[in-house]
Amino acid sequence: MTESALVSAPATPSIATRFADFWRVFRRNKMGIVGFVMLLVIVFVAVFAHVIAPYGPSAQHGVGTSDIYNPPSAAHWFGTDDAGQDVFTNFVYGARVSLIVGFFAAFISVFIGGLIGIVAGYYGGRVENVLMRFNDIMLVIPDLPLMVVIVALTKPSLFNIIFVIGLLGWTTTSRIVRSQTLAVKSRKFVLRARAIGAGNRHIIRRHILPLVMPILVVNAVLVVSAAILDESVLSFLGLGDPTALSWGQMLNYAFGRGAMSTGAWWALIVPGFGIVWVVLGLTLFGHGLEQVLNPRLETHHLMRAQPTVRHEATGKPLRPGPRTRLPSEAPIVLQANDLSISYVSDDRPPARAVENVSFYLREGELMGLVGESGCGKTTLALSLLRLLPAAGQVVNGEIWFGDTELTGLTDEEMEQVRWKGISMVFQGAMNALNPVRTVGDQIAEAIVKHDPTMKDAALEARVSELLDLVGISPEHNRHFPHQYSGGMRQRAMIAMALACNPKVIVADEPTTALDVMIQAQVLELLDSLRRKLGLSIIFVTHDLGVVAEMCDSVLVMYGGVTAEYADVDTIYNAARHPYTQELLKAFPDLTHPERRLVSIPGHPPKLDQLPPGCRFAPRCPLAFERCLVEQPAIHQLSDWHYASCHLAEETKQP
């Protein structure tokens, strides 16, 4: 269960401002507003029943049978019921009963559920175990039959019904509150409060409760609707309070006293309509609340992608230069010209995540794509295979893979290029491999997709061969990803990436989640595979040490643009962009152990608050006035060195 957006905010702003913020967002949520209005209407009706109703409650108009089940007329807008009373009047007064029972019963349930949930979640251990086991039992036992039994054995009074519904309705609340309490309990400020010796009750009251409240409120709304439904069912089954004419009770009388056979549809429709109105209003309101308090990013990987904007590539394409560690006749396998990618959304201007980035990759080359979190390197990497999230859009530029221009391909053509031409190794999160399928199966799937003739023995042999290549013994191919260690999983991903003999592998921080020793192993593996198989690799990372060791070229990104792009030796010995220079200063150098590490103060720009000039200017130690107003162009400093800095302008080549 994901944490509420409100959980991550500290509880310091005043109640008034919090409510104002909430209202602003809630106002735009159509479902929530509709529900809220529906509730207001029915509460208004209930409160002003004595004003709205044309007759007094339980007024007997005419004692004769001729008044029973009269159809709607001017005197009785919704006709009369089985006792000759006005249906509309009873409906309006019945609202009071149903709402009162619903709210009070729900109050009891939420109180009990909240208490149990917080106590179980906070105190943990035996207490939690016992409470949750009890909760499970009560969850399994069917609610309504139990309620029916208890009310049947005791008095069917309103008070009793409220009590019974309340006492049995807490099971879902306690589960939810417990989960949330567990999530909040391990947050830093709670740990801090405990460390300074704050009492348990104080912590619960001041820290835990405010963060559990949003979820509790959403749940409470749904519990109210459940309570109202429960009361109406109990009344309908004949267990309602005979002195309180709730909607359910009205339906009980109508159904049991011949409304159907006399065709008195008004006696059946009207009370039921009331129940539906209230429950629907509560449900819509509850869902609206949930969307506001607990927003889920309702986007997924299979959504329709944004159309690519086709432009002529503006600006000069890069002139490919030599690389110190590679033969310069090696052909170029992948080239990006002036690539710009934005994230679009309905209510804001597009966020320019990548702007005018160009690079080229020769056969056998290992390029390091370096930058801080949020600089656009992952966006760039994903765009190569058209794997951007639904909001991502390529707004400029071209991607050339050999002779094919990738942004112009159809989806089906792109599917052919994926994995077979270019494959990816994702960050080693647990979930990069499907947890319910075996590893061997998933590797085989990749092979078969691009070569349907492979099957059975040949397929299995190939899978074993791939696993062997990365140092995993073949019996593991029948295992599930959770049975692999972190390093093994990453190596399996690499094996999978090699399955169709691609020309290029894009590795997105493949070692970030691993510990140092395993990191070294995996890196060595990648490098040796590259040499053995003649692969080209784009290695996305923020670790300059790794880059120095393995890469042939480096593309340093900052704030979505190219900061510097050069041969690896040039970057390390002759960096021209201040960002690169600062980055290098922040990394320890074994040859100068006494040198102090300097970190770069500040943080990278937010994509919706990009500065007008150079994006690094706010943090740059060498910035001057021009930097703040004019974004520097990418200057070519030599055959193989590009930097986007005004300071680099003087020494650039024409």
Partner: protein, 342 residues
Amino acid sequence: MKRWRYLLGKIGWAVFTVLFVLVLNFFLFRVLPGDPARAGIHDPRLKKEAIEAIRVRFGLDKPVINCFESLNPVKFGSCAVNPLDTQFFIYVKNLLQGEMGISYHTNRPVANILAERLWNTILLIGAGQLLAIFIGVIFGVFAAWKARTSIDYGALIVSLLAWSLPTFWLGIILLFWGSNHGLPIGGMQTPGMSSQPFFARAGDVLSHMLLPTLTYTIVYMGEYMLIMRSSLLDVLSEDYVLTAKAKGLNTFQVLKDHALKNAMLPLVTVIAINLGFTMAGAVQIESVFSWPGLGGAIYEAVNRRDFPVLQGAFLLIAVAVIVANLIAELTYAYLDPRVQSE
């Protein structure tokens, strides 16, 4: 090895829950003011011999449980009562022998009455649930796949509306409409059909089943659709779906081979949790449509104050739900390879 321990643990827990329900059931009916056995004794219609027989049969002259008067059920020593000679153990012993008492209303053994009705309920609920799951899953998959489009919003509204309808009221509406269009107004069979050949009888039962099953399906499909949609949305935003897409699989292949199986797992859990609620639906639908099932038995027993039947029906329903819940949990353990231990 670990999995066996997990399975045994789950089964053991289910047994414990059944015992809890047994105890709860016993105490509800003996301790609450409307104690049936004692109330039955005061029924003026009963003859002296009958009263005596009830007294002996249910051990009403014996203590309820050991040392009940001092509210200390575990003190064996200082109570001069053999614990096995108490009402509670007589109750348990009777249950183990399949004895659930005699119905006040029909004087038939409760066990017999309920046994007939159990299968009728299973038939109705089974059909309704299967349809609800089937339709709900399909709607849910479409809604998630086309999230945030008009298909999604439409399906969402329909589901929320279906969820807000009181089950019994929907039943009433459908019954009202159905009776004006020639469908049967209640029961499971038209009187006189039992002598007909199988297919005619089956067709007759089906025509009686149509409206209640429809009610059931409409009410529950909304919930399953919402669950499936949210589950599939979660799954489709997982990393392994991106990996699958990166491998070149098309949308249909990704859905079929990676997403659906993973998204169905939480559904199994929800179906398990839901079983208690489906019984609530059964009580309502069976009472509206006079369907001769366990839910209907509860309704009739309440109306006639037929406490032995009420007690037996409640117990049977609770046990059925616990068993079904256990089956669902074991199925989940079978489907999800990550399940090792609690």
